[in-house]
């Protein structure tokens, strides 16, 4: 039953897609659409098929290789960005001096458009993976920093008083109240970081690269192979959706107390655990 309702809603959603695609195709075939601007869906589909199923080798690699390279660069940049951003946030949350005098520099980094720094990054890190990872790190460290900091600084006078009256140490207060209380914000920052890291990676690939979906798209575009560049775009959309979904799922699972469904699920789980343990 659930499967049927899922399929129905899926169909409803895709309806607008299907309509648009059909109109698009018709316009291309019979309406005289300038396919230099907008290739017909069937051509894009064919290119996608060629890339993913026939595993065509493009720019010295298969699409899977380019996909993987981009994902890997993004993941590493994301990790670096998270470590830097969250560490700075924790330091800033607990030390007022640090917060006052170092935070402005973080803001400056954020205000500087990542793309403007790219030429410098390439000059420093070269054309390989390092420059992509570096740019990804640079653009994605700020959301975790600002969000985690906000989360940790949330005012909670009464919670502090409560913990004091039950004899909790500073560390106990941090782990049992302050940190869990900041999780919604921390994950908001994480979600932003992951999407920004992907953006940074792709943009860095425009600078120069031998592999990656970004450079693939650029090469296609410059050769005016529009089907190819749109196919790369679709690939990037898939990547984006994938990444975004992973982040969302993690958020829903870990910060479960945000919505009623998550609460119910967790509550039932706890009850079941009790049954088992007796």
């Amino acid at each position: 039953m659930k499967l049927v309702s899922f399929l129905i809603s899926f169909l409803k959603y895709s309806l607008s897609f299907i309509i648009v695609l059909a109109l698009w195709e018709a316009y291309a075939r019979y309406g005289g659409l300038n396919e230099l601007f907008l290739p017909r869906p069937s051509k894009i589909g064919a290119k996608l098929y060629s890339l993913f199923v026939k595993v065509e080798v493009i720019e010295q690699g298969t699409i899977y290789w380019h996909f993987y390279a981009t994902l890997a660069q993004m993941a590493i940049g994301f990790c670096y960005g998270m470590v830097i951003g969250n560490t700075l946030a924790v330091l800033a949350a607990f030390n007022e001096t640090f917060r006052r005098y170092v935070a402005p520099y973080a803001v400056v980094f954020n205000v500087t458009p990542g793309i403007a720094v790219l030429p410098l990054i390439i000059a420093w890190f070269g054309f390989g993976w390092e420059s992509k990872i570096a740019l990804a790190t640079l653009v994605c460290f700020f959301p975790p920093f600002i969000n985690t900091l906000t989360g940790l600084l949330k005012k909670n006078d009464e919670a502090i008083e409560l913990f004091q009256t039950i004899g909790a140490s500073q560390s106990q207060y941090f782990w049992k109240q302050q940190l869990p209380n900041a999780l919604p914000e921390i994950f908001a920052g994480t979600k932003l970081a992951i999407t920004t890291a992907l953006l940074g990676t792709i943009v860095a690939q425009f600078g120069s690269a031998t592999e990656g979906v970004g450079i693939l798209m650029q090469r296609f575009a410059f050769r005016l192979d529009m089907a190819g560049s749109f196919a790369s775009l679709v690939t990037m959309a898939i990547m984006g959706l994938l990444v975004f979904t992973v982040a969302e799922v993690m958020d829903r699972r870990i910060v479960f107390w945000r919505d009623a469904k998550g609460l119910e699920r967790a509550s039932k789980k706890k009850q079941r655990k009790l049954m088992v343990n007796g």
Binding site: E158, E161, T165, G167, K176, S267, K270, L274
Partner: protein, 263 residues
């Protein structure tokens, strides 16, 4: 039950001074005198209400006793011991339940037990009993957001019971609830306090509530905050809701209003 069995031995403490304040003054910054020259002597098992408008120092007094803030001058003693830092022989309740949203009711109740040692089965049993005592049997695995305001405060009360403290400090715990829930919880609170033989300090701005619950009412006035009068409430326990309409009750209300009005 586990909770009541422990409290039986406290009968022997009846008549002893448990909380004492001598000329207590608290000044915030340089200019705000929140409390001036407060003198109080609270005995074991008493229920004391602190009532007054905002700025009268009732919350300040409560926090001084809890050790959450330091006095400017005077002496505050709990269990014959000068109060210098947050105390664990007292338990507190706030206007907000202050439950951890990511923990179930029972996990919230177990919070005090986690502080000094690993949770034992005894702790868990005690927590289940506390939740039952406050009328939340069957809700142990619910999360705070799944509970109503009144129920959340009950969990907070169960948590207080879990601490094993026999001195309860409450800062307008029912202030955010609707009239009906508040009335119901007042009755519950009196029952529980009676069973536990606890000494209670209860802050409220609701005169009826203050008188209904208390053995003595400390009426406080603002600017500067001070204890204007201490009124005895001599109704027998257990107290029915209906006493609130009796003549004697209303006389006390008038007394309180008078004290508050003339300042």
């Amino acid at each position: 039950m586990v909770a009541t069995a422990k409290k039986a031995e406290d009968l022997s403490r009846f008549g002893q001074t448990v909380i004492e304040g001598k000329n207590v003054t608290k000044v915030f910054g340089e200019t705000v005198t929140a409390l001036e020259g407060a003198n109080f002597d609270i005995q074991a098992g008493e229920f004391i209400s602190l009532v007054g408008p905002s700025g009268c120092g009732k919350s300040t007094l409560l926090r001084l006793v809890a050790g959450l803030i330091e006095k400017t001058s005077g002496d505050v003693k709990v269990n014959d011991d000068l109060v210098t830092k947050p105390r664990t022989d007292i338990g507190m309740m706030f206007q907000k339940a202050v439950l951890l949203d990511w923990r179930t009711a029972i996990e919230n109740v177990l919070l005090p037990s986690e502080m000094k040692h690993r949770i034992t089965q005894e702790d868990k049993d005690k927590a289940m009993a506390s939740l039952e005592l406050v009328g939340l049997k069957g809700f142990e695995f619910h999360f705070p957001k799944q509970l109503s305001g009144g129920m959340q405060q009950r969990v907070a009360l169960a948590r207080l019971i879990q601490t094993g403290a026999d001195i309860m400090l409450m800062d307008e715990p029912f202030g955010a609830l609707d009239e009906f829930t508040r009335e119901r919880l007042n009755v519950e609170l009196m029952r529980i306090v009676g069973e536990l033989k606890a000494t209670t300090l209860f802050v409220t701005h609701n005169i009826q509530e203050a008188i209904y619950l208390a053995d003595r009412v400390m009426v406080m006035t603002p600017r500067p905050g001070k204890i204007a009068e201490i009124i005895e409430v001599k109704f027998e326990r257990p107290r029915d809701i209906s006493i609130q309409t009796s003549r004697e009750f209303n006389i006390i209300i008038e007394q309180v209003r008078d004290t508050l009005g003339s300042h």
